[in-house]
């Protein structure tokens, strides 16, 4: 109930701020970029608010719990991406005067067809990103209220699309700045409170590397999907019907839907394909994706995908056009780095405490929920309920602000780049985009939030990143080069992750190359653009278009 109230308050405040921000969205420019009247401080906060999605608020803590400290590199990559944005794209993108990435593509290379191709890639990236946000919203509502998953998804879709369709980017700016504060406060305050109240014993346990996890009390673990468990020592568990089942040390298969009750003090079993909770692999801050036995490669590939992917995210780039000058755009991006750095100190707290208090979440494919579930486990009673409400409201804020930014970019892609832009059509595009995302999110209950978000980053890194970097810094980029590179980057990155999601592959190099494709798709896209461009000749005015991007 308290959680509902808190989420309701965040929703109501968002709507009020959104309506206050409506004033008058009269032209396409008002709608998409707030007519460039947004102050730098607000803009930094709005960008950070938009960027910190369900993947950061819910997903990151869950990843730390399930896969260990190495997943903190995701957060580093999310932040490092902004250093690349400051250095390479923020200023020139703003000077180009383009609203969207496809707009920029047409400015630099002078082809409406390239604009359409880029518009299609925007749609792919935005949908990949939007679906997990709706999933997060449905999950949080389901957890705190027991309401069916689809209610949360529908409700979230309605609130976001109404607020955006009415107010456009101007309202989104203030709503998103508000959401940054909500997210930071509602994650940081409970985190500090939990650290203080967890007790010295639990704190020491959470911080000690190489110490396996045990159940603190009799724990019911619900298995949503069939799971292969490695049991470290013989344990007697109670099965669904209440009968005692002795499990010897070794590998056991648990069927989907089964509930096992582990006794207090039993070691937490290890699901196949995941490092042992608190084991050496878990506590080393490196990412061994796909268990290829090369953690450094996994770490670097992830860093590459996320750092370069952040540079190519259309909804983030669009935000820089709300700055009055290129100089302000750059400074806004620096502000974002500071705000992200502060926020990313906290998700790890939930992951680390989660290993001590709620190790069961790492077993039942529910690790995404650790941020919301943890407070009540650490602090029972009324304070726990209030903390849960705060965290849930923060998570909902994360979902709201990110999805409103995504929807704007999606609407921009649909109406501005693929068709012609007018405000009624943009509003229609927002509604249509929401509907598609909600429809995909409804059956996506089992999908891991971070898989989809990581996918969006990989596609952005393999398509728009080379287009922007070469378009801004290399005179000789040609239309043929850009178009071929975009196509190859989009096909390989989407294909690789789709294959790794669908096919059941053995751990090894093939798996890691498919699950983290950026390490080869990004260089491939760059190389294609460069080689094809060198084969042809750029038009005479290409250098003028390039120089204008850097004119102080």
């Amino acid at each position: 109930m308290t959680s509902f109230l808190a989420i309701g308050l965040v929703l109501a405040a968002s709507l009020v701020i959104g309506i206050y921000g409506v004033r008058a969205a009269r032209t396409t420019s008002d709608f998409l970029i707030a007519s460039r009247k947004v102050a730098p401080g607000w803009n930094s906060m709005a960008i950070a608010g938009e960027y910190l999605s369900a993947a950061s608020v819910l997903g990151l803590a869950g990843l730390v719990l399930k896969n260990g400290l190495g997943t903190l590199w995701y957060a580093v990559g999310f932040t490092a991406g902004y250093v690349a944005v400051v250095a390479l794209v923020a200023g020139p993108m703003r000077r180009s005067g383009a609203f969207t990435v496809p707009d920029f593509a047409e400015y630099r290379l002078g082809s409406p067809r390239l604009r359409k191709l880029s518009g299609c890639i925007v749609l792919v990236i935005m949908l990949l990103y939007l679906v997990p946000q709706f999933k997060g919203a449905g999950l949080v509502l389901h957890l705190v209220s027991g309401a069916p998953y689809w209610v949360g998804v529908l409700l979230a879709g309605m609130v976001v699309s109404v607020s955006i369709a009415a107010g456009g980017m101007r309202s989104a700016t203030y709503v998103q700045a508000f959401h940054y504060v909500v997210k930071l406060a509602f994650l940081a305050v409970p985190a500090v409170y939990l650290i203080v109240h967890a007790g010295a014993d639990a704190r020491a346990q959470a911080l000690e590397p190489d110490r396996g996890a045990v159940f603190r009390e009799d724990t019911v673990v619900e298995f949503n999907v069939g799971t292969r468990l490695e049991i470290p020592e013989p344990t007697t568990v109670a099965a669904t019907g209440g009968e005692s089942v002795p499990l010897g040390a070794g590998v056991h298969d648990v069927a989907a839907g089964e509930k096992l009750t582990f006794p207090a003090g039993a070691s937490v079993p290890r699901p196949a394909g995941v490092p042992e909770l608190g084991g050496e692999e878990w506590s080393r801050p490196l990412l061994d994706t796909g268990e290829a036995g090369s953690p450094l490669f996994g770490t670097w590939s992830t860093l590459l995908a996320i750092t370069l992917g952040a540079m190519g995210l259309p909804h983030v780039l669009m935000r820089f056009h709300t700055s009055p000058t290129a100089r302000t755009a750059r400074r806004v991006a620096v502000g974002v780095i500071a705000l992200l750095g502060v926020f990313y100190l906290f998700p790890a707290v939930y992951g680390l405490l989660g290993r001590v208090f709620t190790p069961r979440l790492a077993l039942g494919e529910a690790s995404d929920t650790v941020t919301v579930v943890l407070p009540a486990e650490v602090v029972p009673g009324a304070p726990g309920t209030v903390l849960t409400a705060l965290v849930a409201a923060g998570a909902f804020g994360a979902f709201l602000s990110t999805s409103s930014g995504l929807l704007l970019a999606l609407a921009g892609g649909l109406s501005h780049d693929l068709f012609s832009g007018s405000v009624p059509r943009l509003r229609f595009a927002v509604a249509a985009g929401t509907m598609v995302a909600v429809l995909i999110a409804l059956p996506a209950f089992r999908l891991d939030i971070n898989v989809l978000v990581g996918w969006a980053f990989a596609v952005a890194a393999s398509t728009f990143c080379p287009l922007l970097v070469l378009g801004i810094w290399w005179r000789r980029l040609t239309l043929a080069g850009a178009a071929t590179g975009l196509t190859i980057g989009a096909v390989t990155s989407t294909g690789a992750v789709a294959l790794s999601a669908v096919a059941d592959l053995e751990p090894g190099w093939v798996t890691i190359l498919l699950a983290q494709p950026a390490a080869w798709t990004v260089p491939l896209a760059f190389a294609t653009m460069i080689v094809i461009s060198l084969l042809g000749n750029e038009p005479d005015w290409a250098e003028h278009a390039l120089l204008r991007l850097h004119a102080p």
């Binding site: 032209t27 396409t28 420019s29 008002d30 460039r36 009247k37 400290l69 903190l72 590199w73 957060a75 580093v76 990559g77 932040t79 490092a80 250093v83 690349a84 400051v86 250095a87 390479l88 000077r95 005067g97 383009a98 609203f99 707009d103 047409e106 400015y107 409406p112 604009r115 704190r203 020491a204 911080l207 506590s283 080393r284 801050p285 953690p295 450094l296 860093l303 750092t307 009055p324 000058t325 290129a326 100089r327 400074r331 620096v334 780095i337 500071a338 992200l340 750095g341 990313y344 501005h416 012609s420 832009g421 005479d540 005015w541 003028h544 390039l546 204008r548 850097h550 004119a551 102080p552």
Partner: protein, 128 residues
């Protein structure tokens, strides 16, 4: 112009795209050359040098620290205020360094722009 008046801003290529709605297939008009092409080239090269330096710094920072963590397992054992040092490096220490790198870049890029003597073109547009 009154400070609070809302102005419609449309990028040139958007205007062209909108005007061209019923005549597909036409290409962008040739972009005019900047007034001082030698100066513009020099400014571009200066900015590119600064950007390359920052990107090199970024690569050293993130790949370097992850390499360090991989090369020195001792960092996991070394405790700072009760927390393993390698956790602190990844979870805390990198963020101020990334921020510092970005601030230095902005400082250098803006100084390079001021070196040209002319006021920023975009500011002129805004007040014009």
């Amino acid at each position: 112009m009154k400070p609070n008046r809302r102005v419609r801003v449309t990028s040139p290529q958007t205007r062209i795209a909108l005007a061209r709605r019923h005549r597909p297939g036409q290409h962008l008009l040739p972009m005019p050359a900047p007034a001082d092409i030698t100066g513009a080239r020099a400014a571009f090269r200066r900015q590119r040098r600064i950007a390359l330096a920052t990107m090199a710094g970024l690569a050293c920072l993130v790949f370097g620290t992850s390499g360090l963590v991989a090369a020195l397992p001792a960092l996991d054992r070394l405790q700072v205020a009760g927390v393993p040092a390698s956790w602190l490096v990844v979870g805390v220490a990198l963020y101020p360094l990334l921020l510092a790198l970005a601030i230095v870049h902005v400082w250098r890029a803006e100084r390079a722009e001021q070196g040209d003597g002319a006021p920023p073109a975009n500011d002129r547009l805004r007040h014009g």
